[in-house]
């Protein structure tokens, strides 16, 4: 009871203090229907539990603002990679140990929806989110951020030779032995890149993705287990210690090289090939059976607020879903959001994932 009163008074204070500028302080929750539910409900729970993957990172100050505005503390529960986290949600469907899940991406989305893990919630914040990011018409999964898995190259290595412009360039003899990719069977950027090749060289074309990968293999592509080994171990650009000048990474990696440089850099040592990028969209949702659905709804509203959204690029290296959120300067100067990123419908991905991965393994590994 005391927690509720405290929450209420903080809310009243926040509402009056923020006054007309509610959006600037991430005040979306104060205008949402969820708040009234939270304050009128009889649940005394003061904690919202957020189940997420290991890469989730948000500033303490941002979460404090959520607590100040709603009275709910956020407890972050990290539980491995995105796929493992979704499995945990599926295994505990209906009897979850958290209220909100974050980090289900479009390659796994239909699995989450088919397993009835999430309940619908239409956040008012969706008004500022572009339609192409909103993949669930029933509002069970709310898009929070997105990123593009793109080829990155080491600028220094491409003086005489031009950097690749398309995926097809990579099978040319000039690029032999230069590419490192992640194994799609163990890595999510690896899977995204495989999907990019499937979208570019579809099944019904003369030259299919199977032909493409056979050619990549003949051109001495290196396959590593995951992003860390590919980028830090095999890639030659930026913070990489290897000798391969082209790597599958993210559109945000060049800005990250500047932001996380040891010594300040004038410009990024790496650059992005803006053709052949695959779009990853990360979603949040309220878990069915959540102990604190009111807090969960408020948290999703907050995650779409500009305050939270503008915290995303510098911590998770993804782009905010909210179109009104500003990007850091490094993101504007050193990379570009690909104009026409590739996508494949989540249901198609889910239906074919296993077969595609098996075929890929046969073509590239055996």
């Amino acid at each position: 009871m005391r927690a509720r009163i405290a929450a209420l008074s903080v809310l009243v204070f926040a509402a009056t203090a923020c006054g007309d500028d509610a959006t600037a302080t991430g005040g979306a929750p104060t205008t949402s229907a969820g708040v009234e539910e939270a304050t009128s409900s009889s649940t005394p729970a003061g904690v919202v539990r957020l189940l997420t993957h290991d890469s989730f990172l948000v500033s303490e100050a941002v979460l404090d603002e959520f607590t100040a505005a709603t009275g709910f503390e956020v407890e972050i529960l990290a539980a491995g990679d995105a796929g493992l986290v979704l499995n945990q949600a599926i295994l505990t469907a209906g009897n979850p140990f958290a209220d909100v899940i974050f980090g289900v991406d479009n390659t796994f989305l239909s699995r989450a929806l088919d397993n009835d893990v999430l309940v619908p919630y239409e956040s008012p914040g969706l008004a500022d989110v572009p339609a192409e990011l909103q993949l669930d018409p029933e509002f069970r999964a709310t898009p929070i951020d997105y990123g593009d898995v793109c080829l990155n190259y080491d600028k220094e290595a491409f003086d005489a030779l031009a950097p690749p412009g398309t995926l097809l360039d990579l099978v040319a003899p000039a690029y032999a032995g230069k590419l490192v990719v992640e194994n799609p069977a163990t890595s999510s950027p690896g899977l995204a890149f495989l999907l990019a090749t499937i979208a570019t060289f579809p099944e019904d074309a003369d030259y299919t993705w199977r032909d493409y990968w056979a050619d990549l293999r003949n051109n001495d592509v290196l396959v590593t287990d995951g992003w860390e080994t590919a980028y830090y171990g095999a890639f030659s650009g930026g913070s990489g210690t290897g000798d391969r000048p082209i790597v599958v990474s993210y559109a945000s990696s060049p800005p990250a090289e500047i932001i996380n440089a040891e010594e300040p850099l004038e410009e990024a040592p790496t650059a992005v090939v803006s053709e052949g990028c695959f779009r990853q969209i990360e979603f949040a949702g309220i878990l069915r059976g959540a102990a604190n659905p009111e807090g969960a709804a408020l948290l999703i509203d907050f995650m779409l607020s500009e305050r939270f959204q503008e915290d995303i690029p510098l911590n998770m290296y993804m782009y905010p879903a909210n179109a009104k959120a500003d990007l850091p300067a490094e993101f504007l100067e050193n990379t570009s959001v690909p104009r026409s990123p590739l996508t494949i419908d989540p249901a198609t991905i889910d239906a074919n994932r296993e077969a595609w991965l098996d075929e890929w393994t046969t073509i590239v590994v055996r």
Binding site: L57, D225, G226, T229, L314, L357
Partner: protein
Amino acid sequence: MDDNSGAVRRFSWAIAALAAIPLAFLAMFFIWPVASIIFTSLSPGGRFDFTSLREVLTNADLLGVAWFTLWQAAASTVLTLIVALPGAYVFARYDFPGKRFLRAAATVPFVLPTVVVGTAFLALVGSNGLLGVDLDGTIWAILAAHVFFNYAVVLRTVGGLWSHLDPALEEAARSLGASRWRAFTGVTLPLLRPAIAAAASIVFLFTFTSFGVVLILGGPGLATLEVEIYRQAKQLLDLPTAAVLAIIQMIGVTAILTAYSRYQERSAVEQGLRPAAEVATRPRTRGQRALVAGVLASMALLLGGPIAVLVERSLHGEAGYGFGFYRDLGEGTRTGAQIADPIKAISNSASFAVVATGIALLVGLCAAAVIARRRGRLSRWFDALLMLPLGTSAVTIGFGFLVALDAPIDLRASWILIPLAHALVAVPFVVRSVVPVMRSVRQRLREAAAVLGAPPHRVWREIDLPIVARATAVGAGFAFAVSLGEFGATSLVARPQTSQTLPLAIYRFLGQPGAFNFGRAMAMSVILMIVTAISIFLIERFRTPGLGTF
């Protein structure tokens, strides 16, 4: 139990009571969770579905994975024994400056995160490697890494017993005309067999469930069951297949373990153990000195090489050498988000390790006392059951906690799961370190004490405890190190971000782009090494007079 006196019958009751603690622990935190997750995965609609079982058993690729898992583990075990036994001998028989420190330091590789070691190995034996050979993607890289990780298991387990063997036995054989080799194979080796078998069983289990090493160094072409289970769970979200593979993994482990304990029982020899201090001498002859030097040099290359790469990388910034990465470990991102809190990570890791070691000692010592005294099939199964968690995939244990531990108290998001998962893996180390020594304690001493009217707990306290105290310290050191380094299960249990451990912090830095974060991951790894070496060193210092008492 070879005779039927009343004292012996009283023993049986004591043994049953002792067995209850480990059994309850395993039932609650291993059997129930693992059974739950396997049943849940294989019966999606509440009814058992055999399709995945059939699919796996007819899939040549998956069967190939099972076969590879088995033979690479066998090869790794043999190779580790060959490489590490001379080390165990030198550490048992000779005194040299810095010995205690080196023994603690040799344990460091054991706790290092595989991703970090993997990149260090690639720097040495990958393409453009410093050593000039490219082993990347080959079985040789995997075997070398397995020796690197498990050297300490042999050094400590076998060395522990070897340092108490009475050299007079071998000397007697020599004076009767046996060659050095004959004296070793005819006298010393049979006496060491229990410890060698114990070490081999642990190395086998560790490499049987090898994950990061195979994932990183094996390339996409080589996979163990552990890697395949992870792949099925993470990328394919195919839990039924993962569950079938987990069953195959556990059946394989159980078969090996029961064969092992049958052997172990037969090979145990009661013998008079000697205090270590009486046994070890300074190397005197030129040959002895050469042997000690040779072993230390090979350790420096094999264990020191990858470690040196890590240390160098943690110190080498763009502006030259310095402690910048260490100083800035706790620095937040520009918006103030903290990737890791080094002090908190150290204190979390240490606290979890204390709790996990405490649990592992309680469970492991009770279990060891039972196994050492009971013979027969029941005891063999009990022993195998205790070892089984070491041979069970992290995914199975992590997901098992999730589906089983929601009632009566919902532990699914509690920090306590972390030390519990660590303890499951640590118990076998306590058992394996202690049982060979306990078995070697002369039964006659115990019987004499019992006949003289000492109640069982007093026999245990005054005969067994002092003798096993040294072995217990070895086991405790292992348990502590296992906990400090554990990553797989830790990362899979849903844990509050505030309970970040050192390995989790390292992975956190590695998952973030940029040279600054890579350097900080290396610095964090070096801190983990230092924390480990210090802990082992302290635990080993804590010794009771032990064997000096008889």
